[in-house]
Symmetry: C2
Subunit: 427 residues, 2 copies
């Protein structure tokens, strides 16, 4: 067999695919590819996660994925195992492992090396590797290819194919976006591009394919996320300035954007999560000049403290104050707590002796809304969950003295008996 | 008479309007308002400019404005004078003076104080003042209103009206955008908002009106420009990183944006001009935290030096080298040289002993294209004028050793006999 044969087999969907890492990137992909007719081996070290998937239960909150996954499991196309050795010998291997940030802002490659070790255990001849994790630039050229060539004594591009195809879905919209988004393919050579392309066209024959290089694929993903992160930081910087000048930043941003094509400033609010805040550091760490990214990171990461400082202008000492935090996840409609600014907010508040009660409809371990609001001194609406759009009566009933509305979901007049603050509008 | 009477008279277009400052903001406004039926007195200290306008010749390059101005002059509705005392007593006075940045990055209020002094010479009772210049936040509340109240012994809002209505047109599209763009009105009170509104509705009865406060009006303009400036800086930062990784940044940005709604990264290139680069300093100067704006400013302002550094990697010493700079204005299709990065580029090159020849089809004092290219060692395409899209044969004929394409207008293959560099793609 040759890579040309693999291309033909892929076109006929006559290949089995392994997906290493069944998190929020890998699991939707596994599910969608299984429903596109491929035999899928899902591989993950987390046994609890595997047990959940075998039962057809998505291990995190994502209703459209839940539905898609049930169909995939029922099709019999999916098996999940702990090690690649237990899988049916795959022709194509996706890397969908996490590349989180270590404490110091550098990348933690532990999961990536784990996946490389797994893959090196079996014969890579005429196989195809597709890298879908977010990675610092040159990771593929400087680490992954040398590692695989060294262990296998094979030549990448000749003996086995390889492409960087970064994931760019929004959490909660994974299924829809796997069908609709253009796919970036940065292969080591033409045949690698072709094989990767056929896999994605199996999901949707009309999918747009954008061809680039290995490093181009890595950078395109980082550019995308950093662009968003910077605009969020700028909105927050505008909010802080607006507070300084005693005006309402959210209102001014709305006016600046209104039917003005050249302006598209996001709403001020928390900017965090597992991707946006760390991806910038992948580029920034290699930079000697004053980077916009580091300024943006400093600003977004300081917003929880800024909120506490604003509250302390009214209530000087928060020790023993009962503070209700509504929303713990980093984004609306999600249970994802990774690098959530709301989590950071509660940690700082706890460290200064506040008595914290948390309600998040998507996070199981938290209190109920009614319970969390009981006898609250201060209420902070920290995540813009849709469940929080119409709870002003309940908040008013709590008799809280201060309401802090991070996402400008309400108006001052909604809380006639409390001091109302929002990001971008100080007292 | 009262301000209510002024409102009625404005509705009937039975008012005369003075416009102080006939530059790229004031002159299009004067012309359009004259063509909307108002009697206009244009006031400017620059006599050459006045002479040109009287003859119906727009003193800067802007073909649609030229046409509109000829019509306005022919209507007899426009007079231009050097001092307000020579004007027919106006009911409404626009401030369209420049607020450039002084050397140190703070605002230069000289023209604004000049206009305030002019206005204070005559009776403000029942007049309306509309501030259309870009100003640091609180300029209106902290300087303009106290100044006028002090000199006139009148009360702003009661005795005379006042509103901040920031200009947000693109140079070269002034006429079209004066008709189409929503108008931001931040009046001191309701009656001031109403009078300003009537003036703008005379231009286009369907114009959208967005009401805010005095400081809201000042900030909305600054937010708009800073947002654009930051995204340009980010594109340039991406370009610099791409060069570091040996890939083509413009291509990667194109791929990242392609049919991906969440990403709208501009093209790398020079970011300067009279507005964008200075407006950020109006906010940044009052800030104690690490600002994204200052990082962005540092980055955009360093691009001319970055280009020279890239060229010096090939040609170590530029002393006495003949360098052709194509384009001197800060933007395409314009003759505006204010804070143009291309001007900065030529200044640095001259300071290190290079022999500079400049061609700009919009800047009269520059050489012709053929003349400028003669015996060039290095050609730098510095402004993305449309006239430069199809001159590769002429550039090739010059036998220049190095072509630097700031705006990625060409491809490497277009210059087979030269080293081709672009911003975002080093050699």
């Amino acid at each position: 067999m040759t890579l040309e044969d693999l291309l033909v087999k892929t076109k006929n969907r006559d290949v089995s695919i392994a997906i290493i890492g069944l998190g929020r990137v890998g699991l939707p992909l596994a599910s969608v590819l299984a429903n596109s007719g491929f035999k899928i081996s899902g591989i993950d070290a987390n046994e609890l996660r595997l047990e959940s998937i075998i039962k057809g239960v998505c291990p995190f909150y994502d209703p459209p994925l839940q539905e898609n996954l049930e169909k995939a499991i029922a099709s019999g196309n999916v098996s999940v195992v702990k090690n690649i050795s237990e899988s049916s010998l795959p022709n194509i291997i996706f890397f969908t492992v996490g590349t989180p940030s270590s404490g110091g802002g550098t990348v933690d490659y532990t999961q990536l090396y784990g996946a490389l070790e797994e893959v090196s255990k079996f014969d890579l001849k005429d196989k195809m590797i597709i890298l879908r994790s977010t990675m610092p630039p040159k990771t593929t050229e400087d680490i992954i290819i040398p590692y695989l060539e060294d262990k296998s004594s094979l030549k990448c591009g000749i003996d086995f194919g390889l492409a960087v195809c970064p994931e760019r879905i929004l959490e909660g919209k994974a299924i829809k976006e796997l069908f609709e988004l253009p796919e970036i393919i940065g292969g080591i050579n033409e045949i690698s591009n072709e094989i990767a392309k056929e896999v994605f066209l199996a999901i949707n024959p009309n999918k747009e394919i954008l061809i680039t290089t290995l490093t181009g694929g890595e950078l395109a993903k980082l550019f995308t996320n950093i662009y968003r992160y910077i605009t969020f930081a700028l909105a927050n910087e505008f909010a802080v300035w607006s507070e300084m000048y005693g005006v309402d930043g959210s209102e001014i941003i709305k006016i600046a954007n209104h039917n003005y094509d050249r302006c598209n400033i996001p709403r001020p609010g928390f900017a965090g999560g597992p991707c946006l805040s760390k991806d910038g550091t992948f580029l920034d760490n290699n930079t000697t000049f004053t980077s916009i990214v580091s300024a943006a990171w400093k600003l977004n990461e300081s917003i929880p403290q800024h909120i506490i400082n604003s509250i302390k202008k009214i209530e000087v000492n928060l020790f023993n104050k009962k503070i209700t935090v509504l929303g713990l996840s980093f984004k609306s409609g999600s249970d994802d707590l990774r690098n959530s600014p709301s989590v950071k907010l509660t940690e700082i508040l706890r460290s200064i002796g506040a008595n914290i009660l948390i309600h998040d409809p998507y996070v199981k371990s938290t209190s109920s809304l009614d319970e969390s609001l009981k006898e609250a001194d201060i209420v902070i609406i920290a995540t813009n969950h849709k469940e929080f759009t119409d709870i002003k009566d309940k908040i008013n009933n709590s008799n809280a003295k201060i309401i802090y509305d991070v996402w400008s979901m309400y108006q001052k007049k909604d809380f006639p008996n409390s001091k109302y603050l929002r990001l971008g509008k100080a007292i």
